[in-house]
């Protein structure tokens, strides 16, 4: 039997290799001379330290691929150092090689405890379109120029101060998706002025970290909690309608809210809002009068998700207000989230709220077990 596979064109063999884990795709270069050069044409390398027996073997492999290798065709690179605490200079050498190779998509995943720092080159790279970091510590940035960056995702990243974030965002003029989750900001001061991110479509950020003006182009806004101890309250949003910009494109909003009447009064700043997710309602803010029912609520709102819903006064008042006024509402979901109500309690609650008077005839009432965020496509990483 002859070797037919090796007679296939490079493009086809490379497509086959694209379905293999990186370690194995690289290993096929030892099959025969025909396969030897293909490793240099792999467009995607995703390397996870757990797949290697020991630290030295892992370092040798990455060195071999990134330093001795030819990275001309490399577009996507992912490095996950789950268990190995690597010397920072080693990481710097790797990242510098990647930056010089004109990589477009870079994901670096470190455990939070290692304090891994990145070389400044990574913030001055003209080819990078997607940048995702987990568990990295930023030192203060001297310059940022990421003219092609479309996606920035920082998860469990430690920043020296809030200026560092402002500096970073000011260098990303074409940014379309911004995800800042569980950030640890050492010096939490007032937010710095940054210009409006004109291309931004999706923002998943803690409410007080980035000025809303910068985000006002988005269609999807998720105001997340902050992980850092002592600043949990920063996650709760109690905006003042007169002081926030108009989000002309916003269709999806999810947030922790303090004072439901306050957020309802803000709805006039979200004229296209269709999907509202309340992660949790806090009731410290005094009730405000609602002079007019905002148009978006009466004629656009289709989905309403209420996290940690309870049959208590403010929750019920908010729910009744929505049901009474949202004329095109299709679905109401409640979650048991924080208080962990039982299935029976939830179905009892659904029975009660579905009996409230409502403006929309065709409205479904559901138990949403996924707690809030119905759209998680902002939270996808390489499969390491």
């Amino acid at each position: 039997m002859c070797d037919k596979l090796s007679s296939l064109p490079d493009s086809l063999l490379l497509h086959i290799l694209s379905f293999l884990p990186t370690k194995q795709a690289v290993a096929t270069s030892f099959l025969s001379k025909r396969w030897r050069p293909l490793r240099h044409s792999l467009p995607t390398l995703i390397i996870h330290d757990a797949k290697f027996l020991g630290r030295e073997v892992f370092i040798q492999f990455v060195d071999d691929v990134l330093i001795s290798g030819d990275l001309k065709f490399l577009k996507n690179f992912g490095l996950n150092c789950w268990s190995l605490d690597l010397p920072n200079d080693k990481i710097n050498i790797w990242i510098d090689a990647l930056i010089n190779s004109k990589v477009e998509h870079l994901e670096i995943w470190f455990p939070y405890r290692f304090n891994t720092k990145l070389p400044s080159g990574v913030f001055n790279c003209s080819t990078i379109r997607v940048l995702k970091f987990h568990g990295i510590t930023f030192s203060s940035l001297s310059s940022v120029n990421l003219p092609s960056l479309e996606v920035l995702h920082l998860n469990r990243v430690r920043l020296p101060d809030i200026n560092c974030l402002a500096m970073l965002l000011s260098g990303c003029a074409l940014l379309e998706m911004l995800v800042l989750t569980d950030l640890d900001v050492n010096n939490y001061g007032p937010t710095q002025e940054i210009g409006k991110l004109n291309h931004l479509v999706t923002a998943v950020v803690p409410p007080s970290l980035v000025p809303l003006e910068a985000l006002s182009n988005v269609t999807f806004l998720s105001l997340q909690s902050i992980w850092s101890p002592g600043v949990t309250m920063h996650a709760i949003w109690s905006p003042d309608a007169d002081n926030i910009p108009t989000f002309y494109n916003l269709t999806h909003l999810e947030c922790y809210v303090d004072g439901w009447t306050r957020i309802v009064n803000c709805f006039r700043n979200f004229p296209k809002l269709q999907n509202l997710v309340i992660f949790k309602l806090f009731c410290r803010f005094p009730h405000e009068p609602i002079p007019n029912v905002p148009t978006c609520l009466s004629s656009h709102l289709k989905e309403f998700t209420f996290g940690d819903f309870q049959l208590h006064e403010a929750y019920v008042a908010f729910m009744k207000f929505i049901l009474n006024n949202a004329q095109v509402l299709c679905s109401v979901k409640i979650t048991s989230g924080y208080t962990l109500s039982s299935e029976v309690e939830i179905s009892e609650m659904i029975k009660v709220i579905s009996g409230y008077p409502r403006a929309s005839e065709n409205c479904k009432f559901l138990h949403d077990i996924s707690l809030g965020s119905s759209r998680k496509d902002w939270d996808c990483w390489f499969r390491f």
């Binding site: 596979l5 497509h15 694209s18 379905f19 690289v26 290993a27 396969w35 290697f52 492999f61 071999d64």
Partner: protein, 162 residues
């Protein structure tokens, strides 16, 4: 081409005739171009040849006919799930022989879905295998001299050759 034609006849590289419905043929870019260019009405006696052998063409047409309804109209999640299962069954074939031809055919006929499926199948056969096991499955001859192998071992200490 007249819109009344529902199926066309093509020749395999072995010279056998095959019928394929128009909607199924549209899954392949070159076949689609052929549909636009060539006269397929009943009184036209030109039958195009596809450079794919009969055994492979049967499989390719089977794939196209199965996938055509979904490609043309979109499908629900349950349809997609059913189709995925069907693909797995469809790809259970003699590796060394037909899989290679399917890869070539999907490439030549610009059929993205079948191309991905066949490449994925080939990759799945390699997954978790050692270098020497992969050589055995696909009859790949190790043409490195022992000196070259020794050199490779020195250059790539982190990698396994066996």
């Amino acid at each position: 081409m007249s819109s009344s034609v529902e199926a066309i006849t093509v020749l395999s590289s072995d010279g056998d005739e095959f019928k394929i419905t128009v909607s199924a043929a549209k899954l392949s870019k070159p076949l689609n171009w052929m549909l636009e260019d060539v006269c397929f009405s009943d009184d036209c006696d030109e039958v195009p040849t596809i450079e794919v052998n009969s055994k492979t063409l049967v499989k390719v047409i089977e794939y196209c006919e199965k996938h055509a309804p979904r490609a043309n109209s979109g499908a629900s999640d349950s349809d997609a799930e059913e189709l995925k299962k069907w693909d797995i069954e469809f790809m259970k074939m003699d590796v060394k022989d037909i899989l290679f031809h399917i890869l070539m055919a999907a490439n030549y006929l610009h059929m993205e879905g079948l191309y991905d499926l066949a490449c994925q199948t080939a990759a799945d056969l390699m997954k978790g295998m050692t270098v020497s096991q992969i050589r055995k499955i696909f009859h790949i001859k190790n043409d490195f001299s022992s000196e070259e192998q020794e050199q490779l071992r020195r250059q790539h200490p982190g990698c396994s050759f066996d």
